[in-house]
Symmetry: C2
Subunit: 414 residues, 2 copies
């Protein structure tokens, strides 16, 4: 695909210069970009308007229209995000380890940019700015492939970023947007091994699956979160209720929201009626196992597929389990490796849950909603990795780097 080859080549060339850029120049460019985004708010909003109008014509849902829409305050939010990235420490050049060998060789493992990062995402134009900002700060060139629904908004944001960034000293070719928004361009980007060092999908399960199945470039799976809260027999039930309500309802459309509730059988009679009532009052639809449907007639009987589904809406699967063992094995069977919590007062059960549940983040007595770069104190992130290679959990600047061994000698041979 001609556009991709051309942009790939430019990005690769830019990445060599970007890798050598000082933190001061990168930060200056990011701050200038933030200012330019605010100064160009009218232009960006006008272009965004075109996307929204087309979306309405095409019968796009209200939720999607909302995610797509930009106004002055959201533009300010985008700029503020870029400023926060500028304020984060630069991971490039960090020494990871240093070794002096008996033969006198000095070996230093240093952090370097990955090179060229491809990002494939859907209808949120703010991802354009966030992702490009994170890539720039970590010294990587970026090739963005956003959804066609946000095409005009993305083009506008990228134009503003390119102009301000290149004027401030970023090499041309650092920031690229794929203008071809067909499915073919997305697949071609996943297979652009000549130029890309990594491809990161940001979006729903369908996109992630397409990348896993088709990418030949190393890919990082992000985002799917079929998160569980398990309430143990010994739990503080007030605490458990608060955690469940928070994890399920505070922001149900995000990947760290709770999707499943497991309750120990010995407290089910006492705890379930209250929690199901509270959830229902907040508009949450209950999908339950036999026990739950027996005590709560409004519940919809769960089918096998429910246990592995990420609803991303006000809907929850509820199941009664015999003990912590059954909770752990149920979670390990059905979870997506994102965030899992136990509410308990029993030390051994807490330790077993932490050690045996296989997920990026495992919690005792806290809401799953904390799995987030900002909440962990790392700052902005490009997504939550749910795979085990390269990075697991929130992917901040450090996770957008690789390393390199530098070996300094004085003529050593083997």
């Amino acid at each position: 695909m001609k556009e991709l080859n051309e942009k790939g080549r430019l990005a690769k060339e830019a990445s060599v210069k970007l890798a050598a850029l000082s933190t001061a120049v990168k930060d200056r460019a990011l701050l200038d970009i933030a200012d330019a985004i605010v100064a160009s708010a009218d232009y960006i909003i006008a272009e965004n308007r075109r996307d929204i109008e087309r979306g309405i014509e095409n019968g796009m849902s209200k939720g999607l229209i909302d995610r797509l829409s930009l106004d002055a305050s959201r533009i300010e939010g985008i700029a503020e995000g870029i400023r926060q990235i500028a304020a984060l420490p630069d991971p490039v050049g960090e020494t990871v380890r240093g070794i002096k060998r008996p033969n006198g060789l000095k070996i230093t493992q240093v952090r370097v940019p990955l090179g060229v990062i491809g990002i494939i995402y859907e209808a949120r134009p703010n991802v354009t700015a966030d992702a490009a900002g994170l890539c720039i700060k970590s010294g990587n060139a970026v090739i963005l492939r956003g959804g066609k629904e946000a095409f005009n908004s993305n083009m506008a944001i990228v134009k503003v970023m390119q102009e301000a960034g290149y004027n401030a000293g970023l090499p041309e070719g650092s920031i690229n947007l794929v203008e071809d928004t067909t499915r073919e361009s997305s697949t071609a980007l996943m297979r652009l091994n000549e130029y890309l060092d990594v491809i990161i999908p940001r979006g729903g399960a369908g996109l992630i699956k397409a990348v896993v199945e088709n990418a030949t470039v190393p890919a990082i799976e992000t985002g799917t979160g079929n998160c569980h809260v398990y309430v143990d027999e010994s739990a503080d039930l007030d605490m458990a209720l608060k955690i469940i309500i928070n994890a399920k309802t505070q922001r149900p459309s995000v990947c760290n929201a709770e999707e499943k509730l497991l309750v120990h059988k010995n407290i089910a009679d006492k705890f379930l009626p209250e929690v199901l009532k509270e959830l229902t009052e907040r508009g949450v639809e209950i999908v339950g196992d036999e026990y739950v449907c027996g005590i709560f007639p409004q519940a919809v009987p769960a089918v096998e597929q429910d246990w592995s589904t990420e609803y991303l809406e006000l809907k929850i699967g509820v199941k009664v389990v015999r003990d912590t063992d059954e909770a752990i094995s149920h979670i390990n069977k059905y979870n997506s490796g994102h965030s899992e919590a136990i509410v308990t007062s029993n030390y051994q059960n807490a330790q077993r849950f932490l050690s045996e549940v296989d997920a990026a983040a495992v919690y005792v007595n806290a809401s799953t909603r904390f799995t987030d770069g900002f909440e962990f104190g790392f700052g902005a992130e490009i997504g939550i990795s749910t795979q085990k290679t390269h990075a697991r959990g929130p992917m901040g600047l450090r996770e957008l780097t690789s390393t390199k061994y530098i070996i300094e000698g004085s003529g050593q041979i083997r």
Copy 2:
């Protein structure tokens, strides 16, 4: 594929138990395995004999027969390798970082096994034991898919390892060998996403390419090394000669051997005749650019493809360059991201080379042959990663792990 699904399921189950195993049990099992391998030398050698006989019947080359062959001393070497793995520190459970958040959440990033590792390799039976040993020590279950040429040897080694290992407390299913050695089983293993966490090919460029193109499981590219030595104008020429001879001829069949020599034009007249003579005397075939062919008539003229080829034999591509800039850009255009060296006495040129050459290991004044787990002081390795995600350079035990965030709270919600 039935065999893979069954072994995948068993490996996955075993991996959960393996992850929780103490270092003491893993080390005991590895030492018992090493003893059992030595005690079973006659059996393993007899089975190896069958592979060799078939190889000879099928007209296998002398070099391959040699790589395939096991004798008492090589069996002792395999056992010693396993003992060395037992002696290495266990990376599982290490704290990578710990954070206390303002809201009281205690976040700890700990090292955990990857889970189930698939290894695809060719005709070297020693890889069977090495790879399984490294996976076990790092708490991972392993599914080995060796070449059909070494099938009986691999089966014998795996049987001995399973019996000794399971008796010493490793969960059954920890060590698996795929008995189907068709190309289909190799492809199916690369796509066994339900059970595998990572796939690592160990072998030639063809195998690596097949994995990159076909794998849906996260893969780690290893091994291809089109390594360069660049002799700068200011180099100590005696040192340069020793490094070139060592890097090219000490063991030409390995991935960190030198494949290309770049020489600064200002020293070409003085240096090249000597180095070409010394190489030729050691049986090295010279492939040269126009300049080299002009001064050295035995040289074969290089074609474009030579510059990107990993010969893995006594053959070297030689080219004269204008300056360090041209050396760096030639290397970055043609290298495979493995190991690259500059020989120089100029500080700035050394720094530029280290910073701008894009490879897993970059050297000043030392042989590329040091890119190796033992030489770096990390101990045994599963291969040299030439990609930038997950791990780059020698992949030891630490590189066979992932991490997990453990979050301990007291009822925190957002």
